[in-house]
Symmetry: D2
Subunit: 227 residues, 4 copies
């Protein structure tokens, strides 16, 4: 359970860099984009242009690249945060239609795991699980019985988003002020993408790295506070 959340990259663009490069060139060129596409072979030249365009803040060009992830072992507290990102697409396991069998899966935050209350936490989860089962047994529909299920109960989702939104997600959720679980989840998503496209490592970073300063009310010291 220490590997939670479980994240897999199901799908990525066939040609990430080339797609972005052709999008950038299309804006400033008299050539047909299909011609630019066919002639685009020089990786270094492509990377140079894309970096220049991204530095100038014209991020719509990276919307053409979509990534699809399978996510499991993530708490419903975390998914409630995640689905607030309105440019993303989600297909999430339903607690209305899927009845938990046996003890439900749940996460244990590090600070509870490392505390003297860890055992009592497990017992509480067991009690909740038993009462959930009892209600289901008594004919209470899953959609109502789930009222007792805790924020810690895990969920599964298919998540997709384009590269612009992934950059935005990273900027917000890799920030030290984001909760550890979503920070871990987004870090795993970014790492899987960077594994495919190493040049993206400079763009999948917390917002302070892009802005050069921290605008949070309480900063972590990584970058100086904005005056």
């Amino acid at each position: 359970m220490s590997d939670f959340p479980i994240v897999d990259l199901l799908s990525k663009p066939e040609h990430t860099l080339k797609t972005i490069y052709v999008a950038c060139r299309t804006c400033y060129s008299a050539l047909y984009p299909i011609k630019i596409w066919e002639d685009a072979t020089d990786e270094e030249k492509m990377l140079n242009l894309v970096k220049k365009v991204l530095a100038s803040g014209h991020h719509s060009t990276v919307e053409h690249c979509q990534f699809v992830f399978a996510v499991s072992g993530v708490s419903r507290a975390c998914t409630h945060q995640l689905v607030r990102h309105r440019h993303m697409s989600f297909s999430q396991k339903s607690q209305r239609y899927v009845t938990e069998k046996g003890e439900f899966e749940y996460i244990t935050p590090k600070k509870i795991e490392n505390s003297s209350l860890n055992e009592e936490y497990k017992e509480m989860m067991k009690k909740i699980s038993d009462f959930y089962a009892k209600m289901v047994e008594a004919g209470i529909p899953a959609e109502d019985a789930r009222s007792v299920l805790p924020n810690a109960a895990t969920s599964s989702l298919i998540v997709s988003l384009n590269l612009r939104e992934l950059m935005h997600l990273a900027q917000l959720r890799l920030c030290t002020n984001a909760q550890l679980e979503i920070r871990t989840l987004v870090k795993k998503m970014c790492d899987l993408v960077i594994e495919q496209e190493p040049w993206l490592k400079d763009y999948l970073v917390p917002k302070c790295e892009i802005k050069g300063y921290c605008d949070e009310i309480r900063g972590c010291g990584r970058k100086p506070q904005k005056v």
Copy 2:
């Protein structure tokens, strides 16, 4: 608690019908819209045009009207459903930054309330509340302690959306297949708007009323199933 969720309409457009009418006319008129606006006084004429445009499916014209609601006494199970509507805006009470004092507020689904398990449900909520308090007392941050808080725990939000999205929300969430709590919430939102603009009662209805048939896998019988 039987009045849950608590819904108030905080803000509405200054001139709902007139705004939509002017938007409709602007598309098909050589006149400046400010001229149309100044001359728009005949309610019946306005209503006739707007109804005709809406019937033909051109719903972008109603996006210019926004409604703002204050919502309380709504479960986090329900808000997790609500925030999936990506054209709406939300400001929600944070379980990370607001520590529950005393017993947390929670909803009790009708089917549990009316069952023999109602007392045990209350006891379980009390146990969870006690353990939450114990964790907070022991120095576990609220953002981690909330792991035990159940789906039934209530939340508060400011919710805003335009009329197009409210129509869409009604179509999906007034459907008998929507869960009772969100159905009740959306019904209250619609009723508050209809109180202001009675002519909207024909548009704030479940999808089957618009389509003339039910496309759900299991229908409720209100309209015939789509063949």
Copy 3:
């Protein structure tokens, strides 16, 4: 020029049907989605489930599939319509930064081409082109000189959208009431996708085919008017 607009499919999902199937199953299954993904091999079974889910109107599951197109030879009248689709992503040739050399490319609507005014149309385009060139020559910036360029002047774009939006686009823009040029453009986009995924031919259709009736004020007779 009779082949306008020019449309190429640059990128498609690696596994369209499988991605949608896994998204559908994730909502209703206790299994981890990565497990569903790994076990998904039976095309017919996948197709059956996906069709059932789509019939019931749960279209968020097809948002996980994105398609990227290169489009050229399309008028700015048409692109002004196209970019109104707010769930799509665009990178469009700029008339501010790209100065037209020689005569600009333009479209000729069928009804003009087949009329006695076709020659005069061509002459007018030539006059406009000459005056544009004269202004540029005189030092007027391209962004101002383009004021005389007509709606018929062509543009190029990279266009990307997910399958849900493509279905929506088809429903609106394959309608006989849509202007011929955008209808042709969207038809070509749909045909390229259907070539890859033949089962999608039932979903990339005008709205009347989905609804069973026509809700336009003036219908074309393909389906009966809504009463």
Copy 4:
């Protein structure tokens, strides 16, 4: 015509500052938002909190305030730029359904007006107008005849957007690198809002004022370039 574009504010929130304040407080308070709303009377206290929240980058709280504008005398070149803002709502005069009578209205960019080509520009517009009329006379539908109409031809729109998007629009379109016409349009929109809510003048500014530096490839010198 020197007053182009013509911009009027048709609708604004009933209580802009109070709405934002209650949204901010709702996130961090145990109180019901309706209670916060009823007790919110101290303007200075409200402003202080809102400024603090905005400084920390939490901008979703200002989405609850929508503004509606009537815009006329704006070129179709400009509206093609404007409708790229996908969080805004538009109802625009249709060149398909509205046939131009007499000479169409058009804008003249300052650099053309002040050049020796101004008269020739007017003559070209007259020629285009005559040919448009001739085509319409000959039975060519307006939707095809408009092919000759220039980018300079004006349009009218109803435009609505929330305060978050207005801030974003200002950041991009008040930048010296934006084209003069859209800069003028957005400046007028912002001025009308600032007239109602003077405290917003610090937020309706070009992006360099927020970031403290310029990230454009070619800056205007207002702020230092990002290193």
